[in-house]
């Protein structure tokens, strides 16, 4: 079982690396489950997709586009729970 804290920390790492490589300035420190990727962190939809692709690799999960829309991943808490549930399914499967 992957903890929420671990996923959130990984998201922060991914954002930090993304900022460095792509020259972005999305907030990656002191992020919390209540943060909104756009309103609180300053990211856009293109950036969120890059996060998702990186998180797929990091947790060895595949994120379904249909589930993604339903999950409202702009809220970090939703994104963390979604990744966690996919990771748990992958472990069981």
């Amino acid at each position: 079982m992957v903890s929420d804290e671990l996923i959130l920390a990984r998201i922060a790492d991914v954002i930090e690396e993304y900022n460095r490589v792509a020259g972005k300035s999305i907030r990656c420190t002191s992020i919390s489950m209540g943060d909104h990727f756009c309103d609180d962190l300053g990211g856009y939809s293109m950036d969120l997709i890059e996060m998702i692709l990186a998180l797929e690799d990091a947790f060895n999960v595949t994120i379904s586009e249909e589930d993604f829309v339903e999950a409202d991943p702009w809220k970090l808490g939703n994104l963390v729970h979604y990744i966690g549930s996919r990771a748990a399914e992958a472990q069981v499967g």
Partner: protein, 263 residues
């Protein structure tokens, strides 16, 4: 309001400026006083294509958020998907070509949208109906430059409009018709020229300008050339969608901030 009749309009003097942000704000200034906020055959040159202007960027961002418009990089990515190239593809252009089609489809689906055409797709997988295989126009350019660039000045022209698909469209066809690349041997400089048949400066043009500079940056990297200029002709430039009042506020905010910073 005066009609924007072509024959009644004087030919527009070109706008000569630094980067995409200053280019955009100068065009907006001109459109705000033009009949029907529309003008024709507008030529813009950016002599420092990678220059950013934080004052214009901030003012644009406020305007964009207020009106829920697409992000600059979201629009720019239709010309060159810079973040995907640098981050997911780790700056590997072969990976970019290979992974882009699936990425584009997924990116649209992630937000519940249909996949629209993209200029980058047409530049890297040019395939009019009936042709046997797609042509990667950008890679063809890079390869030719790598083989021949030291020998002579060179010029290239790559279409993004596809008559086999676009001729019948009344609405929704490509606004960017082609890009043209010029290489100057003595300066080892590569310049990019873009032709827009219809250019919306309320929602798209700033992202378009930025996308063109991203594309030039990529081409310079892989042909080991310096950036020359980005030039753009908008055969029709306009402020669409009733955004004139908000854009006046953007211009005013830029002028006020510029006055403050110069004091």
């Amino acid at each position: 309001m005066a009609k924007a009749r072509l024959r009644d309009q004087p030919i527009q003097p070109p706008i000569d400026t630094g980067g995409p942000f200053s280019a955009w704000i100068e065009v907006v200034r001109r459109l705000l006083v033009a009949p029907e906020q529309t003008t024709y055959y507008l030529m813009v040159r950016m002599t420092s294509p990678f220059e950013r202007d934080s004052i214009v960027e901030r003012a644009y961002e406020q305007y964009r958020r207020k009106n829920d418009l697409p992000s600059i990089d979201g629009i720019a990515a239709t010309i060159f998907p810079r973040s995907f190239y640098l981050f997911s593809c780790k700056g590997d252009r072969r990976a970019l070509y290979e992974r882009y089609p699936a990425y584009r489809t997924r990116a649209a689906r992630f937000f519940g949208k249909a996949t629209a055409f993209s200029y980058f797709d047409r530049l890297t997988r040019w395939r009019p109906r009936g042709t046997p295989a797609p042509v990667n126009q950008l890679e063809s350019f890079i390869e030719r430059m790598r083989r021949h660039k030291t020998k002579r000045t060179a010029w290239f022209y790559y279409p993004t409009i596809d008559p086999s698909r676009d001729l019948g469209k009344i609405m929704g066809g490509p606004c960017l018709s082609a890009i043209d690349l010029k290489y100057e041997t003595d300066a080892n400089a590569l310049s990019l020229f873009a032709a827009y048949r219809d250019h919306d400066f309320a929602e798209k043009a700033l992202g378009n300008y930025v996308g063109l500079t991203y594309l030039l940056e990529f081409l310079c990297e892989h042909t080991k050339t310096e950036a020359g200029v980005v030039m753009c002709i908008s055969t029709r430039a306009r402020i669409e969608g009733g955004f004139g009042a908000d854009l006046r506020r953007v211009v005013s905010a830029v002028d006020t901030a510029g006055t403050r910073s110069s004091k």
